[in-house]
Subunit: 271 residues, 2 copies
């Protein structure tokens, strides 16, 4: 099985990891590490390979999110993590956009420095329980009242897995608002090319020298491949067996978990 | 302006009216009649033209909905009203489907005779405040757990107007669940052809002998036209000036309100 993908990584210099569903499963109490993943991150770093994390996590500020992962034992720091909210803030400032936020309470502080008065766009993130009818309707009214409605979505995921089951992600509310206003959202975060490119540029690594490891076939694997990277899908997190028969997206390899992926990569590079 | 459309109605035998946004504006306390509409309904009936009402209303049982309209002064009876819930019940029974309901509390009694144990499909209606994240997620989990997910949507409207402003309609939650599960919903109600055809058959009138009057360009006007009927859009309810520049749907006429439409029709037929 390994032979199928490890021949592609002879030039490997950098690894990009998804976090939720790859490092840990989220859920009540913050979630739990996936067995072997704490050690796998350590092994990548010890190998000399560059490492960055690309997450669509928007239920906490990046600082708090990283602190949580550190408490679980992960060797990870804020400047290694690419997440949509800081990327969106940059876009908002560059374009003079003042957002109405439909996001999780805990991520609001990321937008502290952004002018939110008299909104001329809507930013939607994974708001979870904040996706009440009232709140979604309020975001809709802001959009429909604009001459040119601008909707920025922090990711376009369909669902993710928490310890108590599958949970709907930001993408479905993005689709809902797109349909309501007959518009197309601008996606910040995976699978947007620019998001992967930021992480690659930060490592100083070319796409063909990098591999992405994620549990989301379309947003992690498909997104990275469209950037020219190789990509593995782990059979943890939101992975479902049907992913391996997907009509348009095919991972360069499927592995049981991050530990197995890292084991395969390091053994191959050490040969 | 009238001349544009009244030449098309020489054979007119039947009228189909939308209710919300044409007869009345909904909202707190049940809503208020649109000026002139009570009298307009009376005039159609007195003229000898056949009359049916096609509504995507799914916030109450048909009985209660009609009783509310009667209290507002409308000459309307239950057997003149075509609404999605009774149509959906027939489909569920015919196909042995057991629904998980994501609907407004008040419409649940319409499904009293339908087996809802061990669900093998989801029925979504305009659930308004029942569209909490928890409830939408629950419907999603039912669908994603089915080998062949079946989603039945009571209409596909984007939004409607209540006295306190625009409100998101069932269509956006249909789109959200379609995207989440990568499926296509089956729509019962407008703009489904079968829905208009039921009303026409009940009147014993051919499509070219009938005219639809509605405030929703796509679901009322476009749906009726696809059935071979003529259709007018009223400038009440959810009407927006941009509707008159829609790229694909063009009404046979635009009128300020139902009273003006009926006035034009009856004057023309009386000539």
């Amino acid at each position: 099985m390994m032979a199928e993908w490890k021949d592609c990584i002879n030039d490997l210099k950098g690894v990009v990891l998804d976090i939720c569903g790859v490092l840990y499963d989220s859920g009540e109490g913050g979630g739990v590490p996936i067995p072997g993943s704490v050690e796998a991150v350590k092994r990548i770093k010890a190998s000399g390979l560059k490492l960055r994390f690309c997450t669509n996590e928007t239920q906490a500020t990046r600082d708090k999110f990283v602190a949580k992962l550190q408490r679980m034992g992960f060797d990870i720091s804020v400047n290694e993590v690419f997440s949509p909210a800081p990327a969106a803030c940059k876009i908002l400032k560059d374009r003079g956009l003042r957002p109405h936020l439909l996001v999780y309470d805990e991520v609001v502080p990321e937008f502290a420095d952004v002018d939110k008065s008299n909104p001329n766009c809507v930013v939607v993130g994974d708001a979870a329980d904040n996706f009440s009818y009232k709140n979604v309707n309020e975001a809709f009214r802001v959009l429909i009242g604009l001459e040119k409605p601008v909707l920025i979505s922090l990711g376009r995921g369909r669902y993710y897995k928490e310890t108590d089951g599958l949970k709907l992600d930001v993408g479905i509310y993005m689709k809902a608002l797109e349909y309501a206003c007959d518009i197309e959202a601008e996606v910040v975060g995976k699978p947007a090319k620019m998001f992967f490119q930021s992480a690659l540029a930060d490592m100083g690594v070319e796409p063909h020298q990098a591999i992405m490891i994620g549990d989301d076939l379309v947003n992690d694997v498909g997104g990275a491949q469209q950037c020219g990277m190789k990509a593995l899908q782990v059979r943890t997190g939101k992975y479902r067996p049907n992913d391996e028969k997907h009509p348009t997206v095919k991972a360069d390899g499927y592995v049981n978990n991050l530990a197995e992926a890292v084991d395969g990569i390091l053994k191959h590079l050490g040969e």
